[in-house]
């Protein structure tokens, strides 16, 4: 039952619907059911937000540490260094997002040119 198991035009779409749509929207729908019962100011929501935030932070870390495409050609220390420098500048400039992104890009590209 792999992606290429059945030679019909509709099979890849069925595969995407079951393995892609069902496997993601089921969690979103569950969130609606649960979220409808929680008050906006409830303490439980602080906990839920903390869990969601830590999850997204883990996604960020994996994007930097196990990248694909051209970013994989930069060494790990350079990737982490560029992001850390950018985030440091973002904090120092009182949360100026563009300044942070600009510095991260500059460090990464200069580093790639030199290595």
């Amino acid at each position: 039952m792999t992606f290429e198991a059945i030679d019909a035009w509709w099979w890849p779409y069925l595969f995407i619907i079951v393995a892609g749509w069902l496997a993601t929207d089921a969690w979103r729908f569950l969130g609606v059911v649960l979220g409808g019962r929680i008050s906006e100011t409830s303490e439980a929501l602080v906990f839920v937000r903390a869990v969601a935030t830590a999850l997204v932070a883990a996604v960020i870390a994996s994007l930097v540490l196990t990248p694909n495409g051209g970013l994989a050609e930069a060494p790990a220390w350079l990737r982490v260094g560029a992001v850390a420098a950018g985030f440091g500048v973002y904090l120092v400039t009182r949360q100026h997002m563009l300044a942070g992104i600009f510095v991260a890009e500059a460090v990464l590209l200069i580093g790639m040119a030199l290595t």
Binding site: F15, F47, A58
Partner: protein, 251 residues
């Protein structure tokens, strides 16, 4: 905040007003986050192309799955020749994080009388970028217009990126490594800065720092479940720290 006349919670007279907010949400398509997300989709389209996915399948996947990590996992499973149940399980694991995100957003989106099917429909748009935009700006939108506004944000982003995937397939050419690297570093930089900026309380920032450290650690220890475990462990720890310090401040 910008709107002087507060809207009633639910009233048919404000249909026109709601449409105006829908369009205002749609305008988020020309924003820095949208631009950064679009560059991430350039990377996704390149990956899909490499995996032998057709243009129609890639565009279909973009609209129906939407969350980028879930799609990357799905393509990984297809490339590895995984059977349908294994692929579905892997994608489901990578998407558990959507539940707490939706739970956090729904109480802020809904007004009195908001119908459940509207929320179910809107929840499909929840992925990191639109969630971050919403958590950052939803409180500037009048309560009764929030669902319309978020519908605009979500649908504009989906349409934009279906277009981006199509464009990459049609233009398909090899990007030089530095160009590709410069595009691919945008996503983590954007997530990092906006997540920090949109934190509702200090617990959010503690959770973010813990997630950054624990994520790679659990990726080594439990590669299959790393995101979920990181969220639970990091989130719980951040919450406990929050409770402990709040309790002391109150005493």
């Amino acid at each position: 905040m910008a709107d002087p006349a507060p809207l009633p919670d639910h009233d048919d007279d404000i249909t026109g007003e709601r449409f105006r907010w829908y369009l205002r949400g749609f305008r988020e398509v020309v924003s820095l986050p949208a631009l950064i997300l679009a560059t991430s989709f350039v990377g996704f389209a390149a990956l899909a192309l490499e995996a032998g996915i057709t243009l129609a399948q890639a565009v279909f996947m973009t609209g129906i799955v939407w969350a980028l990590p879930a799609k990357v996992v799905l393509i990984g499973a297809i490339m590895a020749g995984n059977a349908l149940p294994a692929a579905a399980f892997a994608v489901a694991l990578s998407s558990v994080r959507l539940t707490p995100m939706v739970v956090a957003l729904v109480p802020e989106l809904k007004a009195r009388g908001t119908r459940n099917w509207v929320l179910l429909l809107l929840s499909h748009f929840v992925a990191v970028t639109s969630w971050v935009i919403a958590m950052e700006k939803v409180r500037e939108v009048p309560r009764g217009a929030r669902t319309a506004w978020y519908g605009g944000v979500g649908s504009s982003l989906v349409i934009l990126n279906m277009g981006v995937v199509t464009a990459v397939y049609l233009l398909a050419q090899d990007m030089p490594a530095p160009v590709s690297a410069a595009l691919l570093i945008l996503t983590p930089m954007y997530f990092l800065t906006s997540l920090w900026g949109s934190a509702r309380e200090r617990a959010g920032r503690v959770a973010m720092a813990l997630g950054l450290v624990l994520g790679p650690l659990f990726a080594l220890l439990t590669p299959e479940f790393s995101l979920l475990v990181t969220g639970l462990v990091g989130g719980t720890a951040a919450y406990l720290i929050h409770r402990f310090t709040a309790g002391r401040a109150g005493a």
